[in-house]
């Protein structure tokens, strides 16, 4: 069953065609990578799916439901979570408080103004558990803006998953990371997305081929190829457009 499906998505920014007739299919439980050269429209496709933009044409289906034009908060409540290419944490709040926002959202505590948050033991316990799982328990009380780059990226990725989504959308989670940090991030992603569906935009081919069960290649706003990693590696059109330059 397809957990996520886009039908003939076309999107343009006042005349600039960014996506053209994109039909993406993501099966429940798979790890799906979207690759493609810069400017191929990967992030725009993400933004259309996660509710940042309403597509100019076409529909998006999530768990069989038409979610075209839904607002981000609604999609999160339906079970979608996303991270950002440029780190987008709550920089003046601590790592703990950042994760806690996700836990609150997951528990549906959104407009409560009658209880003291610090005294909600169960929320605190669950947040600490998440921090431990992502190896940030040592930085519990450090403001997110003061974390090292690798740690703040880990936080960024984990925030997308703190609401316990069924579908996790990660936009270049390892962007700007060192080899070592990338290795840790991949392990983290593998661990956290156990039993979930993952859609990931990635430039690092080592990450893509070690993580993904399926790959979609986006080129100039259209899908060039979609299939298992081995098929993509062998595809001549993909080699010409993208992989050829990357010495795979």
């Amino acid at each position: 069953m397809n957990i996520l499906e886009t039908r003939a998505i076309t999107h343009d920014f006042s005349g600039l065609q960014v996506l053209l007739d994109v039909n993406l299919e993501v099966k429940a439980g798979e790890r799906h990578a979207i690759i493609g050269p810069n400017g191929a429209g990967k992030t725009t496709l993400f933004n259309v799916i996660t509710g940042t933009y309403r597509p100019s044409e076409g529909e998006v289906f999530f768990k069989g439901k038409d979610i075209t034009g839904f607002k981000p908060h609604k999609l999160v409540r339906l079970g979608m979570g996303r991270s950002f290419q440029i780190t987008s944490t709550f920089s003046r709040m601590t790592a703990f408080q950042n994760i806690r926002m996700g836990i609150l959202s997951k528990r549906g505590i959104r407009f409560n103004m009658f209880r003291i948050l610090d005294k909600m033991q169960d929320v605190t316990a669950e947040t600490d558990e998440v921090l431990k799982r992502i190896n940030l328990d040592g930085e519990r009380n450090v403001p997110a803006g003061m974390l090292s780059y690798g740690k703040s990226r880990s936080l960024e990725i984990s925030m997308a998953m703190a609401t316990d989504p069924e579908l996790v959308m990660l936009d270049e989670p390892t962007a700007g990371m060192s080899k070592d940090e990338t290795h840790h991030a991949v392990e983290l992603i593998r661990r956290l997305t156990e039993g979930k569906t993952l859609v990931i935009i990635e430039h690092d081919m080592d990450v893509v081929f070690s993580l993904a069960d399926r790959i979609t290649v986006l080129h100039l706003g259209t899908i060039l190829a979609s299939g298992a990693p081995a098929d993509i590696r062998a595809d001549q059109a993909v080699k010409d457009a993208y992989l050829g330059e990357m010495e795979v």
Binding site: H73, M101, N141
Partner: protein
């Protein structure tokens, strides 16, 4: 701090507040009531500015509306008890906030500030021009101040300044306590994250405009409380006291001088302003001149305000790192 210490601290604070007018006399009690009114007013502005990151140049409109609401109600409704009169002022401020919030929650930054400037000035002009209702430049004054009464049990005369002091301090103190409590709740924490990154808040599953609307209405309601008590205290509310642009700027300056973002900063700022006003007005009428100078000095040398400055000194001289767990309070 453990529970016993907390209770002792509260007891000491309440005793000081109770004995204050007896020790310092009525004149200084009135100075203190003025301070408390502006402390609450500044705290409500800080809810927007320090906690949610929204700068308003027209916060006076809620203060003024609260004041006019109470004053006009007492002028026209005979035998209206005290607390319902305050409540009418608050509801008037809430009504204004509800009318404005569909626009205001969708803008931020300069647009938010300038729209408030515009609506603030509009309210000022309305108060001047709608003479039949607002009394024009003279304002609404000399309305009866009802006693604080619980029917059949007690009735306390509020024209007695000592009684009014206790009433005002109780209402203002409870309001400040309620806002403090609010900042500690889950919704309070959503508010802080809206300030840090409103886009991400939506991607965590929270409704940003709705959250902002609640905070906005709450800030307006308590600004209305401050305005209402002010009108009762002066037995007068005029456009110049309620809606003037300087009334909008006063809490901004108090927040800046006291310490932006920290909860108690604005209260400190209101105290500093109260003291300066009291001292300078003995020598000159140009109180604003001194205030302006102090604001310039604060912005140049202590951009985090008085509390930020204290924190800096503590760190510098006693080598104590600021507590990381309270960073949500530091803007």
């Amino acid at each position: 701090m453990n529970k016993t210490q907390k209770w002792i601290l509260w007891a000491v604070l309440l005793t000081i507040l109770a004995l204050y007018p007896i020790v310092f006399g009525i004149y200084y009690s009135n100075v203190f009531v003025t301070f408390a009114i502006f402390a609450l007013f500044a705290v409500t502005l800080n809810l927007l500015l320090g906690y949610t990151g929204l700068l308003s140049f027209g916060h006076a409109m809620f203060f003024g509306t609260g004041g006019y609401g109470t004053a006009i109600a007492l002028e026209h409704i005979e035998g209206l008890p005290l607390l319902p009169a305050v409540l009418i002022g608050v509801l008037a401020a809430v009504a204004l906030a509800l009318i404005l919030c569909p626009i205001m929650v969708r803008v931020s930054g300069t647009a938010f500030a300038m729209l408030h400037l515009a609506f603030g000035q509009l309210m000022y002009v309305l108060a001047l021009k709608l003479r039949v209702i607002t009394g024009g430049e003279d304002g609404v004054g000399g309305f009866p101040i009802p006693p604080f009464s619980i029917p059949g049990i007690l009735s306390i005369d509020m024209t007695n300044p000592l009684n009014f002091y206790y009433f005002a301090i109780a209402v203002l103190g409870l309001s400040i306590w309620f806002i403090w409590y609010f900042t500690k709740t889950p919704l309070g924490s959503v508010m802080v994250s809206v300030r840090d990154n409103d886009n991400r808040v939506a991607y965590m599953g929270f409704m940003v405009p709705q959250t902002k609307a609640i905070i906005y209405v709450l800030a307006a309601a308590f600004a209305g409380v401050a305005g209402s008590i002010y009108a009762l205290f002066q037995n007068l509310i005029a456009a110049g006291d309620g809606f003037h642009i300087l009334v909008s700027f006063a809490p901004i300056m108090m927040v800046m001088v006291g310490g932006i973002g920290s909860f108690f900063g604005p209260i400190m700022g209101a105290a500093i302003f109260g003291i300066i006003e009291e001292l300078t007005s003995r020598y000159t009428e140009r109180v604003e001149l001194v205030m302006g100078l102090i604001l310039i000095l604060v912005i140049m040398f202590a951009p985090l305000g008085f509390l930020g400055f204290l924190r800096y000194i503590k760190e510098r001289w006693f080598g104590k790192r600021p507590d990381m767990t309270t960073t949500e309070d530091v803007a």
